[in-house]
């Protein structure tokens, strides 16, 4: 069993989920309440990773991080090393890759909160943030948990993006799915099977727990209003 790959994968998934909660929550909030006419544009961008082949996404993320792009150069001048084939680069790519899995359940849950409750909260003198923390979040906690678990499970299993952006560096970017691929290529079917079974069991258990916890939040895609 490749334990370093397992721990690396879990660490990656946790980091990605933490970033997604910070980044995805405001995006989901904005999407549920804006009346901006170009909102569909943002929705499409957020949902793009759902339909793109992971290699396409990985390819462009790789290009964007490379030393020829302004972003890559800016990061390199800061840290002294490039983003591709590092854990940080992998985390950034995974955040983009799993964004719709976090945003969509949260946006669906936020938009089901009665607008009158939000209005009542501001009538009672509460700021937007207090309204969010005291009213919106407790009433849509199911959607937030679903978003967290789905993006966690999704990050665990990603392959194409990891291969493009992270490569296959043991202990740095070699995740479980890459390890399985390696073992299968090396005809170590027993090893591949152990890892694959573990991943499948873990995914199945997390999904079962999530769905049993909030039985009303079944639809993951398409977003239901």
């Amino acid at each position: 069993m490749d334990w370093s790959a397992i721990f690396l994968t879990i660490r990656l998934a946790l980091v990605v989920c933490a970033i997604l909660l910070l980044v995805g929550t405001p995006i989901a909030w904005w999407l549920s309440f804006t009346r901006w006419r170009w909102k569909f544009f943002v929705e499409s961008i957020v949902a793009l990773p759902l339909v793109l082949p992971p290699t396409v996404l990985g390819f462009y993320v790789l290009v964007a991080m490379g030393s020829r792009s302004p972003l890559g150069r800016w990061y390199q001048s800061f840290t002294g090393h490039g983003l591709p084939f590092t854990f940080e680069g992998l985390a950034i790519a995974s955040v983009i890759y799993s964004l719709p899995f976090a945003v969509q359940p949260m946006a669906a849950a936020f938009s089901q909160v009665d607008r009158n409750l939000i209005n009542a909260s501001s009538m009672l003198g509460a700021s937007r943030i207090r309204t969010f923390v005291r009213v919106v979040l407790p009433l849509s906690i199911g959607g937030v948990v679903t978003g967290f678990v789905l993006s966690f499970a999704h990050t665990l299993g990603e392959f194409g993006v990891v291969l493009m952006v992270g490569g296959n560096i043991p202990g740095v970017t070699r995740t479980v799915s890459i390890a399985i691929y390696d073992q299968a290529q090396a005809l170590d079917y027993a090893g591949a099977n152990r890892m694959a079974l573990l991943l499948m069991a873990f995914s199945f258990v997390t999904l079962s727990i999530t769905y049993s916890l909030n039985r009303r939040v079944w639809a993951v895609w398409p977003m239901h209003r």
């Binding site: 009158n116 409750l117 209005n119 009542a120 501001s122 009538m123 009672l124 003198g125 509460a126 700021s127």
Partner: protein
């Protein structure tokens, strides 16, 4: 007459090509009823005052505090306006207990003061026994009390109520209103009470503003505005079931009356004198409960209008009967079930209608 505590509103707000709100009025301490049909702009008006909608032009002020002024570019955020607003669906927070709901707006106060304020409030509104429960676990009337307590515990400068008691029975309703009234004798804030019920308007209002099609049709004391409606919409709003177009035939100035001919029939009505010449078109409104039915031709009555008609239909609505009568024009008459039995009324029966002159109200045609 802007006193320290009165709410003054003068705004225009265009919502669409077909609907624009254009309202100016002053609400001093006490109940001001905002009466009108649905779609008349009542909720839009409250939303402008609360800050959920931004008027195109005008000014909203609470005493010396300006909440909105299109000229001075003032648009105070909702959270700073210090108003109470009880929504039609109450909008109690379903995941919080009654105690947490009531304290929601005073979270910035120290714990002991918060507690003290809440206790005063829950005593005023008799909800002390509900503190640990959630809104889903209490009755409609209790939820109403909690919503009022939650708004008033902040000591708002004015209270906005959007048809808050529609779903309640009369006994529950009047008890809650008594408590609200009692609270307000001590605090004396303006209370804007949106309703479509003339009964509530009569029972509560020191003043009434009649709003229809986004415009104020009339304002003043309910007794003046509602009992002698000068406008067809007001007539319908306050329950004049019978509204007829008519032509003035003759005027008896010394009697203070005039004779009118109902359009499309031979029926004539003597009505109170209005500003009209013979030949002028007028509109007459009569409450269904003000018309008397007799089974034989009545004699020696003070009532000046009596004429024959035929019962078209009788319909029971709870404890009253709605009788439709063809007498040149179609009249709606409300009677008690006992009266129906005593007169042996049934469809097709010939009867006499009796209407007092002063039960006939002249109203102006609606603008639309």
């Amino acid at each position: 007459m802007a006193t320290g505590k009165s709410l003054s509103v003068r705004i225009t707000h265009r919502l669409s090509n077909r609907f624009a709100l254009d309202a100016a009025f002053e609400a001093s301490a006490g109940f001001t009823m905002v009466l009108g049909p649905s779609g008349g702009g009542k909720t839009t008006l409250l939303n402008c005052i609360a800050g959920f909608a931004r008027p195109d032009t005008g000014c909203i002020a609470l005493g010396a505090r300006v909440l909105f002024d299109s000229d001075g570019r003032i648009d105070m955020p909702v959270a700073e306006r210090r108003l109470g607003y009880v929504f039609q669906n109450l909008a109690l927070f379903p995941h919080l207990t009654v105690a947490q709901n009531v304290q929601y707006g005073i979270a910035n106060l120290p714990a002991n003061e918060r507690r003290a304020r809440m206790m005063t409030m829950i005593e005023s509104f008799r909800i002390a026994h509900l503190l640990a429960r959630k809104p889903g676990e209490i009755s409609g009337g209790e939820r109403q009390r909690v919503a009022l307590a939650r708004s008033l515990v902040m000591n708002p400068a004015a209270l906005l109520l959007d048809e808050p008691l529609t779903a309640l029975d009369n006994a529950t309703k009047s008890k809650i209103l008594d408590d609200l009234r009692a609270w307000n004798t001590a605090h004396e804030i303006p209370i804007l009470y949106v309703t479509h019920s003339p009964e509530e308007t009569f029972a509560l209002g020191e003043r009434v503003v009649v709003l229809e099609g986004g415009r104020i049709l009339a304002q003043g004391m309910p007794q003046h505005v509602l009992t002698t409606p000068r406008h067809e919409t007001i007539a319908q709003v306050v329950g004049f079931e019978n509204v007829f177009d008519a032509t003035v035939r003759s005027i008896a100035e010394t009697q203070g009356t005039m004779l009118c001919h109902l359009d499309g029939s031979a029926t004539q009505l003597e009505v109170p004198l209005g500003h009209a010449e013979p030949g002028a078109r007028v509109r007459i409104a009569i409450r269904a409960g003000d018309i008397i039915i007799a089974s034989d031709q009545p004699h020696n009555l003070s009532a000046r209008n009596s004429f024959q008609g035929r019962v078209l239909s009788i319909r029971r609505e709870g404890v009253r009967a709605v009788v439709m009568i063809q007498a040149g024009a179609e009249f709606e008459v409300h009677l008690t079930p006992a009266a129906i039995d005593a007169l042996r009324l049934e469809a097709g029966k010939q009867i006499w209608l009796v209407i007092k002159t002063y039960s006939c109200n002249l109203v102006e045609p609606s603008s639309r």
